[in-house]
């Protein structure tokens, strides 16, 4: 697209899709923004009065709000820790030649193909159930009182479930990165007297840094909006112990029918997500431009 003419026609050609995307994004955002300044509850019919920032102050001063932010961050950080560390370890194992490698790799990828609701239900009913769950059965076999996972450690349980879903993604990305590491570099390090641990720290880990960055960025985007797993397991409870921002907005809008308040929450969630995004890009994004 060198000349002015081709550039202009290129813009013209792209315009429809750009406009469509723009409208697609802007209309809901504008409506949400508009609703967030209204007193708009589905249970109180009548005029929707403009009430300024009341919805915002109501949402921000709600004790559940701080709790939800904390839970959101804990969830994101917990899952990231498990998937990145676990992903690196799994990738290292899968990179070794062993019998049945193909099958094992396939099995490792499998959880990624299970829908979030289904996997959460499987975890809830087959693994974490305090009476007939697998974990309880093992615990009883060892003579320990079984933990009621979703009631006693709800946030941790959800972290586990989500981590299980995202581990394959992290493993896959890290494995491909690992396989692209030049074998001669590892051999050179070996000749230079680096043991297995030193080789990992000085050669493998720096090589993986870009892939780790990608994993963290992509996962964070999705982990900020975890919803299905909470809905089908704890419903944000007990109390609000496992309520994250997404779930709080949902509870506001669809359980309390407060469209205005939920819209304000949604806008706040968008702003917070952007803050996290900027923070992340600043912190680790520099790994990408090398």
């Amino acid at each position: 697209m060198a000349t002015l003419h081709t550039r202009a026609s290129a813009r013209l050609m792209m315009a429809p899709s750009v406009i469509l995307l723009f409208v697609w994004m802007v209309v809901p955002l504008a409506m949400t923004l508009y609703f967030s300044f209204l007193s708009y509850n589905l249970l109180t019919p009548g005029a929707h009065n403009f009430i300024g920032f009341l919805n915002y102050s109501y949402f921000l001063t709600d004790p559940a709000f701080l709790m939800a932010i904390g839970n959101t961050l804990l969830l994101v950080i917990g899952v990231l820790l498990i998937t990145v560390i676990g992903g690196i370890l799994l990738a290292l194992v899968l990179d070794q030649p062993f019998w049945g490698q193909g099958i094992v790799r396939l099995l490792v990828i499998a959880p990624f193909f299970v829908m979030p609701t289904v996997s959460a239900l499987v975890w809830k009913n087959m693994l974490m159930n305090p009476v007939y769950g697998l974990f309880a059965w093992i615990a009883r076999g060892l003579g320990i009182t079984p933990i009621d996972w979703l009631a006693d450690v709800p946030l941790f349980s959800i972290t586990l479930i989500v981590a299980w879903q995202w581990l394959p993604f992290a493993t896959l990305i890290l494995l491909t990165a690992l396989q692209s590491l030049d074998g001669e570099q590892k051999e050179a390090a070996e000749m230079d007297g680096a043991g297995a641990v030193s080789r990992f720290i000085y050669i493998v880990l720096p090589h993986l840094s870009r892939a780790i960055t990608v994993v963290i960025l992509i996962q964070t985007i999705f982990l900020l909006s975890i919803f299905a797993e909470i809905l089908v397991t704890t419903n944000g409870g007990p109390g609000i112990q496992s309520t994250n921002l997404t779930y709080l907005v949902y509870a506001q809008a669809l359980l309390q029918f407060d469209v205005g308040g939920a819209s304000a929450g949604g806008i706040i969630a968008v702003i917070l997500a952007n803050i996290v995004g900027i923070f992340l890009i600043r912190l680790i994004g520099k790994n990408l431009d090398r």
Binding site: E187, A188, A189, M191, D192, G193, A194, G195, Y202, P206
Partner: protein
């Protein structure tokens, strides 16, 4: 110290015997070059010495000590790879310092050694750069720097110059030779470049299909090749080989004479032929002659000997420098 001995060293990958059994002695301080056609096992042999591959059989001794089962780091050798294998995320300084750091040496000692190596190799201005920001020759020097700081017993080079252009290769060749004279450390050097082998080596090992064909100084191999393979491999352009009646007259299966050992004349000589292609190199001229008696023959003539394609020429081989070979391809002396 760095004498290396191979005692019946064997290597197979699965069922293919890449190296069926090699015995070789490399003296301390020697510059030994492995040459041979592609796939003959040069790299494999070097990697066996380095410890990057396990031997299938036989012993490897370094300074008389059996290291056949020792890991690479314990053998006290340094290797320069064809792809350089620099660590891309580390600066030049850190690359060179890496082996010292792995050896847990003190910071100031490391600094002194790295700067000394950088000075020797003209890398002082590039110490803070990443390998990606260096030219091929500079990368090669960093790889050498990383090898020399450890003061290894011997250096192993696997075709270190093959990624460089001709001019740079010439310079680096001299730099490595100078480095050898300066350090006096054993060097084992793999190449398929004749000129590198002839100019740098104290001792050339000619390999073919995992076997040693001949070991000797460059001039030994050039003057008295032990067999047809070495005769054909060493020297450029290749030695002319003639079989049949003419060879029979000399009580040999095959006779060979080098292009530079043929006297050319426009008027008379032992054999005659027609010039096919004449390559004028300036200092001398390579003539590809279609001889009347034995087909194609290459001859090297003086630069002043002006002939054109299609012209008739006469050749007289220098009988004193003729090589004779028996049925098995071994030289008859």
């Amino acid at each position: 110290m760095g004498s290396i001995s191979l005692r019946n060293v064997r290597k197979s990958f699965g069922t293919t015997d890449v190296i069926p059994g090699i015995d070789l002695d490399i003296e301390d301080g020697e510059f030994v070059v492995f040459v041979g056609p592609s796939g003959c096992g040069k790299s494999t042999l070097l990697r066996l010495i380095a410890g990057l591959e396990d031997t299938t059989g036989g012993r490897i001794l370094i300074d008389g000590k059996d290291v056949s089962d020792a890991p690479p780091a314990k053998r006290g050798l340094a290797m320069v790879f064809q792809s350089y294998a620099l660590y891309p995320h580390m600066s030049v300084y850190k690359n060179i310092a890496f082996p010292l750091k792995m050896d847990s040496q003190a910071k100031d000692v490391i600094d002194k050694k790295v700067r000394e190596a950088a000075r020797v190799l003209n890398l002082t201005d590039y110490l803070e750069r990443r390998p990606g920001q260096l030219s091929g020759g500079q990368r090669q020097r960093v790889a050498i720097g990383r090898a020399i700081v450890r003061q290894p017993g011997a250096f192993l080079f696997d075709e270190p110059l093959s990624n460089l252009d001709a001019a740079l290769r010439g310079t680096m060749r001299i730099e490595i030779s100078e480095l050898h004279q300066h350090l006096k450390t054993t060097m084992v050097y793999v190449t398929h470049d004749q000129i590198e082998a002839m100019t740098m080596a104290d001792k050339i090992v000619v390999l073919n299909a995992g076997r040693i064909e001949q070991v000797g100084s460059p001039l030994d191999l050039y003057r008295t090749p032990a067999n047809l393979f070495v005769a054909g491999f060493i020297g450029s352009p290749r030695m002319n080989m003639i079989e049949g009646a003419e060879a029979g007259k000399m009580q040999a299966k095959t006779i060979g004479f080098r292009p530079e050992h043929i006297r050319l004349s426009q008027t008379d000589g032992a054999w005659s032929g027609t010039v096919g292609v004449a390559e004028h190199l300036g200092s001398d001229t390579l003539l590809h002659i279609d001889s009347d008696e034995f087909g194609p023959i290459t001859a090297r003539a003086d630069g002043d000997f002006v002939v054109k394609s299609g012209q008739r020429v006469f050749m007289t081989p220098d009988k004193a420098r003729m090589h004779r070979f028996d049925e098995k391809g071994l030289a008859i002396r």
